[in-house]
Symmetry: C2
Subunit: 502 residues, 2 copies
C-alpha cells in the first residue's frame, strides 16, 4: 500500500504552490486588464515577492524528499506515479536556477520590457539593443545551467514544449519550407478575394455582444470564467473553474475581435476542461504550449474559419450589421476572411503565411543562440528574411523586428510552439472528423457540444499525464506530421482558389 | 547613530509583508467585483494560503528581533521609533494567533461570504446560519487568544479601533440614546419633506457618468485608482497609488449611487493621501476604522448632503435628468435628500437614523459575544430591535439580518466604528470650517481642493503616527465628543424642519 500520508503531503505542498502561482496570476490579470497606471510600481514589487515565495516553496527540501520517497515506493503507481515523475523533473529543473540568477533575469526582463516599449513607440531599435544583448547572454547562461545533449536551443524550447529539440524543429520547419512555402507562393500568385468589408465601421458594443455569443456557442462556461478587454488578448486561469479570456475590439477591423474571441475561447475550453480535482498537480495542468495552442488554433482556424461554421453564424452577424454585410454573401464573406496575403504583422496574418512569420523568428533565434549573428544585426536580418519568405519590404522596425513582446520577456524557443499548435490542431481535427459522426453537420447547424466533448475527453481531461508526442500518438495514431495540416490546407485553399487545381 | 542596516532590514521585512497582504487584497477585490461564481472554492484556498504566509512572515523571529533591537537603540527616534512601537504592538498581537487559526479563519470567512451571498439572494437565513455559527465560535476563540481586561468584545473592537472598549462604546451609545434618539424622534414627528423625485427612473449609464464626475470633483486620482460595480460598495487599496472604490446603481433610487460614490470617494482620498514612500510601514497606513470612516462621512454628509455642495452640483444633475428634476427646485432637492425616516436598510439610511441601525448591530454583537442569544435567534432579535428603535416591521431577512456583508467577513466590533467615524467627521469638519477661510464659499463654487488639502495635511499624511484620540486632540483640541455632531445636527435639521425650533 502506498503511504497515503506522504501522498497527501505531496499533494498539499503542490496545492499550496499552485495557490501562490495562481495568486500571482490574478495580479497579472488585473495588471493587464484593470490596474491604474500609477499602480505599477507596487504591483511589480508584489509580483516579485510572490515569485520569490513560490520559488522557495517549489524548491524546498521537504518537497524534494517527499517526491523521492514516494517514487521509491513501488506501490505508488498510475496517475500518482506520473504526477510524481513530472513533479521531479520540474523540481530538478528549478533547483538548477540559482536565486541570484533568477533575480538578475527578472531585473533584466523588466528593464528589457520597458526598453522594448520605448523602442517600439520611437521606432528605434537602438534603444533596446543593449537590453536584448544582455538578455541573450543570460539565456545562453541559462542553457548551460539547465544543460542539453545536442544544442543549447534544446534547453530553451524544452521549457515550453518538453521533448522538442532543435533537431525535431529543423525537421518540422524543413517540411514547412518544402511543402507549405511553395504552396503559399502558388496561392499568392492567384487573384486575391475581396476582404474590404472587414474594414468597414463596426461599432464596439455590438461587436462585444457578438463575441460573448460566440464564446457561449463554443461552450465557454461563464460561471467558471469571464471575458474582459485588454491591449493584447490572452487567456489566464486561476483554477479550472476560473478561466479569464480577454479580447480587443477594433471598430475598423471586425476580424480582430472575432478570431481573438474564438482563439482565446479555445485556450479557455482547455483550461476549463482540465480536471478541477487535480488542482496543482501535473495531471490538472495543461500539457505544453504546443498542445495549448492546438486547442486555440483548432477553434480559430479549423472551425472558426470554415464555411460550415459561418453557415450557422453568418446570418446573426449580418443582422447585427446589415449596413455593412447585407450585400456580402456568405460565400464572399468566407472567401474574404480566408484571404492569403503577405503582411508585416504576425498576429494579424492569415493561417498560411502565419507560419512563415514563425519560421523567420525561429531562424533568427537559432542564429542568435549559435552566435552567427549579433543582436545589432537583427533588424537587417529580420528585413532580409521578410523579403526572402514573404517578398515584402519592412518599412520600419516598429512593424518589423520590434513588433513582438516575446524576446523582451526573455521568451526564446516560444514562437515555434505556435506552429506546432496549428499543425497539431489540423491532425486532431482530422481525427475528430473521423471519430465524430456528423461533426460537419453539427458545426453547420451550430452544435459545438460534440466537438467540445471529444476534446474534453481525448485531450483536456488528461492534463499532463502524457507528454505531447505520446498524446498525439494516443489521439491520432501517429506523431506530429505536417501532412495533416497540408491536407487540410490543400483541400480548403484549392476550394477557395480554383486556379490552384491546375 | 541608528543602525541603518537594521532599519533597512526592518523596512524590507515590512514591505514584504505588505506585498503579501496587498496581494490578498487584489484577490478579495476580484472576488467581490469580477470573479465568476464557480471560482470561489479555489479562491478561498488561495486566500487562505496567502493569509498563512503573511502570518508566518509577520510573526517571524527575524522581524521580532529586529524590532526589539531597534527599540533598544536610543538613537532611533521620531517617525522610525513610532513605527517600531506600532509594529511591536501588532507583532505581539499576531503572535497570539496560531497559524492554524489564521488559515481556518480565512477559509471559514471565504465560505461564509459565499453562503451569505446565496442566502441573501434566496432570502433564506438558514443557508448561512451554519457558517455564521462557526464564525462566531471562532471569534470567541479569537477573543480568548488575544486577551482582554474587562470584556471579550474589547478584543474585537480593539482590532479596528485601537483604544476603544466596550465601556467607551457603552458611554458613546449611551450619549446617542440620551441625545440623538430623542432628537430623531422629534424629527420623525414633523411633516416629512417630499423625496419622491429620488425614486423616479434614473438610467444606469448616466448615473455612472455622474458618479465618476463627483469623484473627479472631489479630487480622486483616476491614475491611482478606479471605480467598479459591486453588490456592496467598498474601498480597498493595494498601495497609495492603487485605490479601488466600488459603487452600486439602482435605477429606481438615485441616492444609492450618489452617496455611495461620495462616501467611498472620501475613503479613497484618505488612502491616496497616505505617504506612498512609507508603503508597508505604520506611518504609511490608515490610523483606525473610525478615522477612516470620518473621512468618508465628512464627504458624504457634512459636504455631500449640504446645501452648499448642491448649489454647485445640482444644475449638472438637472441637466442630465431634466424629465425627473427640472421641476424640482434646489431647495426641494436639498430637503428631499435629507429626509429623516425610519427605514430597513442601514446603507441607505439618512445621516441621523443611521446611528440607530448601528446601535442595533452593536447590541446584537454584544448579545452574541455574551451568549445571551444564539445565531439562530438573530433574525428574530434583529426584527425586535428594529421595532424598538425604528418602529418598523422587517418584511424579509434579505432586508433584515442578511443585509450586511460584515459578519460574513468575520468583522465583529466593526459597526461601531461607523458611528465613531460620523461623530469624528462632524468634529473635524467644524475645525476645518474654522481654519479654512472661505471653505463654505469654496464648496458653494465647486472648489474641493482646499478641503482636500486640509485633510491631506492634517490627517492623511500622518498615517498611523498618532493614535485616534491623539489625532483627534491634535486636530480639534479635544477628544471625541458627541456634542459636535449634535451641534451640526441641531443646526442643520432645525433649518430643514422649522417646527423643531419650538
Amino acid at each position: 500500500m502506498a503511504d497515503q500520508k506522504k501522498l497527501d503531503l505531496y499533494k498539499s505542498l503542490m496545492h499550496r504552490i499552485a495557490d501562490i502561482n495562481y495568486s500571482s496570476a490574478v495580479l497579472q490579470w488585473d495588471q493587464e486588464v484593470y490596474m491604474p497606471a500609477k499602480g505599477s510600481t507596487a504591483r511589480s514589487s508584489q509580483l516579485a515577492t510572490l515569485a520569490g515565495i513560490a520559488h522557495t516553496e517549489s524548491t524546498s527540501e521537504e518537497l524534494g524528499d517527499v517526491i523521492n520517497d514516494l517514487l521509491n515506493d513501488e506501490s505508488v503507481d498510475g496517475k500518482d506515479r506520473r504526477n510524481l515523475i513530472e513533479s521531479k523533473r520540474n523540481y530538478k529543473d528549478r533547483l538548477k536556477f540559482t536565486k541570484d540568477f533568477v533575480v538578475k533575469m527578472s531585473r533584466e526582463v523588466s528593464d528589457a520590457f520597458n526598453a522594448w516599449q520605448r523602442a517600439k513607440k520611437a521606432n528605434d531599435f537602438s534603444l533596446y539593443a543593449g537590453n536584448l544583448e544582455k538578455l541573450v547572454a543570460l539565456k545562453l547562461e541559462e542553457c548551460e545551467m539547465l544543460g542539453y545533449t545536442d544544442h543549447p536551443y534544446d534547453a530553451l524550447i524544452n521549457q515550453h514544449e518538453f521533448g522538442a529539440t532543435k533537431e525535431s524543429l529543423d525537421r518540422l520547419f524543413g517540411d514547412v519550407k518544402d511543402q507549405l512555402v511553395p504552396f503559399v507562393n502558388r496561392v499568392l500568385d492567384e487573384e486575391p478575394p475581396d476582404s474590404s468589408f472587414i474594414y468597414h465601421h463596426y461599432p464596439k458594443n455590438d461587436q462585444w455582444k457578438f463575441g460573448i455569443r460566440l464564446l457561449e456557442h463554443m461552450g465557454f462556461d461563464f460561471k467558471a470564467g469571464r471575458q474582459d478587454i485588454s491591449t493584447h488578448p490572452f487567456t489566464i486561469n486561476f483554477s479550472a473553474n476560473d478561466v479569464r479570456v480577454t479580447t480587443r475590439i477594433n471598430e475598423d477591423d471586425l476580424s480582430e475581435m472575432i478570431w481573438s474571441c474564438i482563439h482565446e475561447g479555445g485556450h479557455a475550453l482547455y483550461e476549463q476542461g482540465l480536471p478541477a480535482d487535480d488542482y496543482g498537480l501535473p495531471s490538472g495542468e495543461y500539457l505544453s504550449l504546443g498542445v495549448h495552442e492546438s486547442q486555440s488554433r483548432l477553434w480559430e482556424n479549423n472551425v472558426g474559419r470554415s464555411y460550415d461554421y459561418w453557415e450557422h453564424n453568418y446570418s446573426t452577424l449580418q443582422n447585427i450589421y446589415p449596413k455593412n454585410l447585407s450585400t456580402v454573401s456568405l460565400n464572399k464573406f468566407y472567401r474574404g476572411i480566408n484571404k492569403v496575403q503577405s503582411s508585416l504583422i504576425r498576429t494579424s496574418a492569415d493561417e498560411l503565411t502565419y507560419h512563415l512569420h514563425v519560421l523567420i523568428r525561429y531562424e533568427l533565434e537559432i542564429a542568435l543562440i549559435e552566435k552567427q549573428i549579433a543582436v545589432k544585426d537583427l533588424p537587417g536580418e529580420w528585413n532580409k528574411l521578410y523579403k526572402k519568405y514573404l517578398n515584402i519590404d519592412v518599412p520600419s522596425d516598429s512593424k518589423g523586428v520590434l513588433q513582438d513582446v516575446h524576446w523582451s520577456h526573455g521568451s526564446f524557443g516560444y514562437f515555434p510552439t505556435y506552429s506546432i499548435g496549428s499543425f497539431l490542431a489540423a491532425q486532431f481535427f482530422n481525427k475528430a472528423m473521423e471519430q465524430i459522426p456528423g461533426l460537419k453537420a453539427d458545426i453547420r447547424s451550430g452544435k459545438s457540444a460534440t466537438l467540445k466533448k471529444w476534446l474534453n475527453e481525448n485531450i483536456h481531461a488528461l492534463g499532463r499525464q502524457y507528454n505531447a508526442e505520446e498524446l498525439c500518438v494516443k489521439v491520432t495514431g501517429e506523431p506530429l506530421n505536417l501532412r495533416h495540416f497540408m491536407d487540410y490546407t490543400r483541400q480548403k485553399y484549392c476550394g477557395l482558389y480554383p486556379g490552384l487545381e491546375g
